[in-house]
Symmetry: C2
Subunit: 324 residues, 2 copies
Amino acid sequence: MKFVIDTLGGDKGSLEIIAGIKLFHQEFPEVELIAVGKVDELSELSNIAKIVEANDVMPMDAGVLEAMRMKNSSMSVAIDTLIKEKADGIISSGSTGAFLSLATLKIKKIPGVIRPALITSFPTIIDGKNVVLLDVGASVENTKEELVQFAKMGALYDKAVFGVQEPQIYLASNGSEEHKGSNVGKEAYQLLKNEKNFVGNIEARDVLKGHADVVVFDGYSGNIFLKGSEGMAKMMSQLMKDVFKKNIITKIGYLFAKSGFNDLRNKMDYKKVGGALLIGVNAVVIKAHGNSDCDSFYSAMKVGYHLMEKKVVDEIKEGFTLHE
Amino acid sequence: MKFVIDTLGGDKGSLEIIAGIKLFHQEFPEVELIAVGKVDELSELSNIAKIVEANDVMPMDAGVLEAMRMKNSSMSVAIDTLIKEKADGIISSGSTGAFLSLATLKIKKIPGVIRPALITSFPTIIDGKNVVLLDVGASVENTKEELVQFAKMGALYDKAVFGVQEPQIYLASNGSEEHKGSNVGKEAYQLLKNEKNFVGNIEARDVLKGHADVVVFDGYSGNIFLKGSEGMAKMMSQLMKDVFKKNIITKIGYLFAKSGFNDLRNKMDYKKVGGALLIGVNAVVIKAHGNSDCDSFYSAMKVGYHLMEKKVVDEIKEGFTLHE
C-alpha cells in the first residue's frame, strides 16, 4: 500500500503534519509513505518515508487556474507523484478547492462518474451506527443526475466501509414529504423513487437519529449541514466543560463522571474524524481539515488507510461498470 | 395586545395547545386571547379567551391551492379573525407551508418587502449572546435582492428584540472568503459589501461562536442549518444523559453536577424556543413547531408576546419606509 502525503499548505504548518505522519507510521509500519514538501523539514522522516522535494505552498484561496499554474506546489507535485508511483492514496490539508480540482483533473474520474463528491461519516445516536453523508462540499451546485449518482456512491461506500449490505438511502430535504425539497432535490426524488433501498426525504434534524445509512445532499447544503453540526457539537462540548466549572460541587461531579465524558468526547471529536474522501476518482483522495494538528492529521491518515484497505475505489469502479 | 391562536393542526392535538394557552394566560393575563378551533374542546378557555368556531383541520402537507380552498379550516379562520379583529399577532402549529402562504397572502407584506422570511435566534457560546438567523425555511430558493433584504430585516429585528445597535451581519457560505458561496450568495455579497455593518461570509461552523449578530441564509440551506443544529444538540443531550448512566460512579457524578446540567439543558432546549417569526408581514405571525407540546407552545406564545411588545412589525415598517 502506497500513500502520498502533501506536507505543506495546512494552517498549522508542516511540523504538525510531520508529527502526524510519525504517529501513523508507528501504527501502520507496513504502509509505504511518500512525503512531499521542503527537504530540510522532512529530513527527520527519511527513515520511514520516501522524500520528494516541492517548495511552493498552494494558497488557501487558490482558484482552479492558479492551482493549475502552480506546478511546483507541494500539492501538484504530490498528485503527480501519486500518478507516477501508482500509489493508492493521497492526503492534503491544503486548499480544498485547489486539491479537489487538481485531483479530479489529474487523477481522473472513475468511468461513468459525472462528478466526484466529498463523503464522510458521522456517529449517530445509536451506538456504533454511522451515517454516511455526501456531498459535503466538493460542489456548490449539482444536477439531479449527480444527486442520483451520489446515492449510488454512498451506498457502495457504506457497503465497503461499514459492511452494510442494504443501505437505507435518504435525500436531505426541508421536509419529509415527497413534494418537499430544493428544486433539484425534487427532480432527483423522481429519479430515485423507484431505486432499491431509496426510502425518501429526510429532514436535517433526523439525520443523526440512526435509521438512515446514507444521506444525499447537494454540495452546498451538505457543507452547511456538516459544518453547522460540527459547530453545534463544539459548542455543546464547551458548555459541558463550563457546567462542571460552575462551583465546587459540580467540580466534584466531574471527577466522578470523567470516564463517561471521555467516552463522549472521543465519540464526538470531529478532529478525530479528520478527513473526508473525494469519492469517484481513481485513488483514495483524502482532504484533511485545513487546521489539522498532529492528532487530526494522523486520524485523517487512518481514515485513508482504512479506505485503501477496504478497496473502496475498486468497489466504486465495479459498481459503476456493472450498473451504468 | 390581541393574540389569535389556531388550536388545530398540530401533531399532538389541541389538548396540548389548550394547556399551553392556559400557562400563557397565567403569566400574561393582560393579553386579549382569541382561540380558534372546535367549540367543545375550547369551552374550558371561555373565561380567558374569546372563542371562534372552526372545525376543519389544515392537513400537514397542504399545498397553497388546497390551503386557500379550505376556508373553514381553523388556520384560515384564525387569519381572517386576526384581520377582522385588528389583532397584533397570530400563532399556529399547523402546516408550515400553508400557514406561511396564507399569512403572506391575506395579512400582506409590509410595503417594500419582496419576500417574508422565517427568522429565529439561537444561543451562542458566549453567555447571554444570541445570533439571529434568517431565512430558516419560508422559501426554498431566493434571489440576491431577497438576501439583501433579509440582512436588513435581520438587523432591524436584532435591534428591536435584543437592543443591538450596530448588528454585525454575515452571509452564510461554504467558506469565509469573498469568492465562496452559492451562486446567489456570491451575487448577494456584491450587493451587500458596501452596506454598513456587513462583515462578510461566515462558515456554518462559526455561526454559534458569538461574533455574528445576524446570519443570512437562503431558505433552503437555512432550514438545513437550523434543523441540523437542533438534531446535533438533541443527540449531544441524549449522549450526556447516557454518560451519567454508565456506572454507579458516573451516577454519583450526576448528583453533584445536576444543577449545572439543568442550566445547560435550559439554554439548549430548542423546545423552549418553540417558534419562529414570519418577518416582513403586517403582524406578528408565529409558526410553532408542528409537534408542539404544552410547554413548547407556551414558549412559542411567549416569543410572540415579546415580539409584539417590542413592536417588531412597526420597526420593520419604519425601516423599510425610511430606506427603500
